[in-house]
Every structure is written in C-alpha cells, then in structure tokens.
Amino acid sequence: MSAANDKSTAPRLHIENVYKRYGGRTVLDNIDLSVTKGELCIVVGPSGCGKSTLLRIVVGQEQASAGDVMIDGEPVALPDASRGIVYQKYSLYPHLTALENVLLGKMLEYPFYRRRSAVEAHRDEAMELLKRARIAEHADKYPNELSGGMQQRVAIAQTLIKRPRIVLMDEPFGALDAGVREDMQVLLLELWEAYGMTVFFVTHDLEEAVYLGTRVLVLSQYYTDDRGPAAGPARGAKIVADHALPRRAMPTVAKSAPEFTELVMQIRHEGFDPAYLRHVRDFNLEHPDAFQTLTPEEDGRATRPDSSAPSPTGSASLAPFPSGSDSSTPSPPGRNASSPSPPGRDPSPPSPPGRGLG
C-alpha cells in the first residue's frame, strides 16, 4: 500500500486544506501544516484565533469541516493512542492516585480481572516516569491533593507512558504561577530531549513560545487575500508566519538575549496587530517544512494548481522570505499554490469556504 511506503518519509503530523466552520463563521481557513519527527512545534496566536480548535482537531476531539489530518502518512480522525494530550486542566482522573493515573494507559491494555498483574508489570516504568517528572514522592496522592504544577507533571508522565507519536499540549502551563511555569518549561525541554518527543504545543504566551520551540507557528485572522471584502468577517485564521528556531545550548539564559526579544516583538507584530495585514502570498513562512495550498479565490493571480503535479513531501515549495521583511515583494503567480502532498493523495483544494456572512 502506498500509505505503508509513505511511512518512512511522511512527516509526523501533516495537515492539509483544513477548515473549521461553526455555522456561517469560519474559524480555521485552509490550514496547511507539516511537522517533522522530533520537532517542538509551538502554535501562538491572538485569543480566539482558533489555536485550541486546531489542536482539538489534531487530537480528534473535534472534526475538521474539510481537509485531512495525517500522522505518519495515515489519516486520523477520532482520538486514539497515536496522539497523546496534556490539557491545561482535567488531564488527570480525580479517582486515581498520581501513580494510578500514570498506569492507566497500561492498565487499559489488560482485562480488568488482570489488574494486579498489569500493575506488577508496569509499576516500575510508571515510577520511572514520575521520577523523571520529579514528582515520584507524591505518587500515592490524589490529584486534589496536588498543586497545579504537580498535577501537570503527573499529566505529562501519564501521556508519555503510551509513547505517543506526537504529544499535543493545550496551554499546559497557562494556569501556573510564573516561577512554577519556568520550572515546567525546563522540565518539558528535558523530557523532550530524553524521550525524543514530537510536541505540538499551543500557547498564548509569546515568550514561552520562543523559549521552548524549535519552530513557532503564528496563527492569526489578521491578513488579506484576493477574496475581497465580502469574505471579511467570515474569514478564519491562517498560519501567517512560520519560524525555525535554533535549539539553544543554554536555554535558561536565552530569555534575555536580544535576538530572543526581537523575535518575540516580530511575532507580536505579525500575528497580534489587527492593523498589520499581510497578503496570503507574502506570509513569512521561513521554516523549511512550511507549505501553502491557496485556492484561486484566495490568490486571484494564481492559476488553479495542476492536481497531478507531484512534489516531494516536506520540501519547501516556498522560498523562505527574509525574516522580518515587511516589504510585500510580489511573488510569482501560482508559486504558493503547489502542494507537497504525500504521493497518492489528491491535493486538489476543497470547495471554497462558505461566505455566509457576506
């Protein structure tokens, strides 16, 4: 099968032409995104732009109105063990102790009458994870006896025991005090390195994003395209910028570095400024994995993409724009329109989004 052949080369997470509409309102508007294994990919964006919706679509809690979500080249829809998730809260089950919460993923592999042997077989593994998360001394406490930061440590361990192919995190540290949050960020980087995790992390905190990420995606509804003003209010968020970040050796000092603050400022400008509208053709998609499939309506100058044209997966079909460049250099027509679909998939764009409010 072609899907099996894809597996080795297919990106860990591949999202193409994904739309999400609620009634007449479009929240996510033709999202294209590819994440390579081992990446710590952060999504930022103004509140209400749909970052959490995107994450819920990836995990399968919500379904996309159109488009595909693929893990290792295989389409996924409903939640399963291929994708782990850590929420801001409610990740832990109140009736289980910390250790039992971590064990749960393994226990569910056994019939209920073999509980005891399941615990015996996996107790050490669970304790090791709790140790790694530096919470082992509270293994026998219930979640309501743990502080917010401790709960999140357990929640990460709970997710890791299933060795998911990608770990999704929805503002996991958003409810924590500043000091605790920093500890948790350091912990996440440690675990990410130790376990070779692929992480897809949603946050509204730009410092957190630039500090943690090897890649920062900016999701925003502030942009223009050739659909005209009619699509205005119904226009949903797109990925307007895609930054590749070097992994720093000394993460703790990086926050004061000038290039750090500069990038934070730049992202704030790109994604959070309602007055700064960049055209879809001119998004700052500098990351090598970035790609864009624009519909003819969005890019009026583009010809309809040739759906049979194959292009290698994960390669940049889009020359990276110079970082921070505000000039809207016109790009050749149709350049953005080709799509690096995995072979065997029809990359033809879906019907244009509803313009119900127009």
């Binding site: 063990a81 569910l108 997710t159």
Partner: protein, 273 residues
C-alpha cells in the same frame, strides 16, 4: 474581639453550646408531648390519642420481645425484615438500572437522544397515581411493592447519573481514548469508578422517596411490613404502637443514610461533593 454565641451572622457558638442548641428542639418536642399526654390521661385514663411512655413501652415489649401467639414470631422483627427486603430490592434495582442507563445515555448520544425524553416523562408521573395500575399489572404480592419503589426512584437516579456524567469534562473522555481506551472501557473502567460516589449520594437522597412508596404499598395491600402494621392498628387508634413504629422507621432511615455517608468518606477519599 469576642464573637456572639448565638445572635447575628457572626455567631460562633462554643462546642458545648452547639450540642445544647441542636438538642433543644427535641427536648422541647418531648416535653410538650409528655405534658399534653399527662393532662389527657388525667382527664380520661382510657384515652388512646396521646399514650404515655409506659403504654408505649408495653406495646413495644408485646410486639418486639414477645412471640406472637398465633404466628409464633416476633412481630416487629418480622415486619422490619419484610419491609427492608422490599426496600433493598426496589432501591437496589433502581440503583443498578439508573447507573447503567444514566451512564450509557450520557456517553452514547444515540442512546441518550432515544431515551432521555422517555425517562423524563416517566420521572414526572406521580408513582402513587399509577398505584392501581401497578397492583393490577403486577398483582398484590411482593412484585408490585418492589415495582412501585423501583418506578418511583429509578427515573431520578437515572437523570442524576446522566447529568453528572454529561457534566464530566469532554477532555477526560478524549484523554482516555488517547490512552488507548476502547468505548466500553471508557464506560466501565474510566467513567463508572468516577460516578460511584455520585450514585451513593443519589441513592441516599432517593431513600426518602423509597420509604414513602414502601409504606404506601404496604398500607394498601400487604400481610406484613412496617407500613402494614401502622395502617392495621390505625383502626383501633393504637397510637401506642404507631408512635414507636414511626420512631423505629426514622431510626432505620437515619442508620442507612449514616452508613452510606460512612462508605463515601472511607472508600472515596478523593470525592468532595
């Protein structure tokens, strides 16, 4: 600053004061009864409406500690066991059916949409209004009494479990699926253990209704039971039997409630209602 012992919103009674205050209404009630009883019996020693403590003790001694001449049984013990058996079967059935229905209805939308309107409809029918239908359909034996208790309590238990499972954050269900749970595991291994304390809580509240339906069923068609005895001796105005029986029922109800609360506190340390 010293807070007042009794008056005002800042009142903070001492531990001893709390006992005194809590017992005061009971003492008052007993005192009023004894006084009224004393004057009525002084007026007419054959009065049956407000028997003295001595008369009640005699009645209890006769019913609880002496074998009945005809049946050779301890009447009060026999009545208690009959009633408790009916209540236990009725409420137990309600709890099991309510738990399974409520949980599955809340987790499987197809089942929920199919059944929730029906369950709501049944829960609004006053069970005592269909008592004749129940006696006609299920006969006048044990089954009818158990069915009355069951029909009277299961819709509320179902709706309560349904509501509390519905109120569980969607995140928890998604999370379980990402940990590899299959749908049935989600129901019986993730959700079920979490709603157990809630079930105990709603069974506690349903016991009140359960007693009501039990007494009603026994009053109308029965040959034994606590409600049967009360309504039997009512014909002879035997308040010396009725009052101890009512106190006994109250004690049984209190004891059940207390036991369930103990289970909640001991077995479900994580649960805060």
């Amino acid at each position: 600053m010293r807070l007042p012992g009794f008056f005002g919103v800042h009142a903070s009674p001492s531990p001893r004061m709390r006992w005194v205050l809590a017992l005061a209404p009971f003492v008052l009630l007993v005192a009023v009864y004894l006084t009224a009883s004393h004057f009525r019996l002084e007026d007419n020693p054959d009065d049956k409406i407000l028997p003295s403590v001595g008369q009640m003790v005699d009645a209890v001694d006769r019913l609880a500690f002496t074998r009945d001449e005809r049946s050779g049984e301890f009447v009060m013990l026999h009545d208690t066991l009959s009633s408790l058996q009916r209540l236990a079967i009725g409420i137990g059935l309600s709890a099991v059916v309510g738990l399974l229905l409520g949980m599955n209805m809340a987790l499987f939308p197809g089942m929920g949409i199919t059944l929730i309107a029906m369950v709501t409809f049944i829960s609004i029918i006053p069970p005592l209004a269909i008592l004749p239908i129940i006696f006609i359909s299920f006969g006048v034996d044990e089954l009818a009494k158990v069915m009355l208790i069951f029909l009277g309590t299961f819709p509320l238990i179902t709706r309560d479990i349904y509501g509390s499972v519905k109120a569980m954050p969607q995140e928890q269900l998604t999370k379980a699926l990402t940990l590899g749970a299959r749908e049935l595991q989600l129901v019986y291994r993730v959700v079920l253990p979490q709603v157990m304390p809630r079930l105990i809580e709603t069974v506690r509240l349903s016991l009140g209704g359960g007693w009501l339906f039990l007494i009603a069923a026994e009053a109308i068609a029965s040959i034994d039971g606590l409600g049967y005895r009360i309504f039997l001796v009512r014909r002879y105005l035997a308040m010396d039997v009725i009052i101890p029986y009512v106190l006994w029922i109250t004690f049984l109800g209190f004891f059940m409630d207390w036991s369930l609360r103990q289970i909640l506190q001991r077995r479900y340390r994580w649960y805060r209602s």
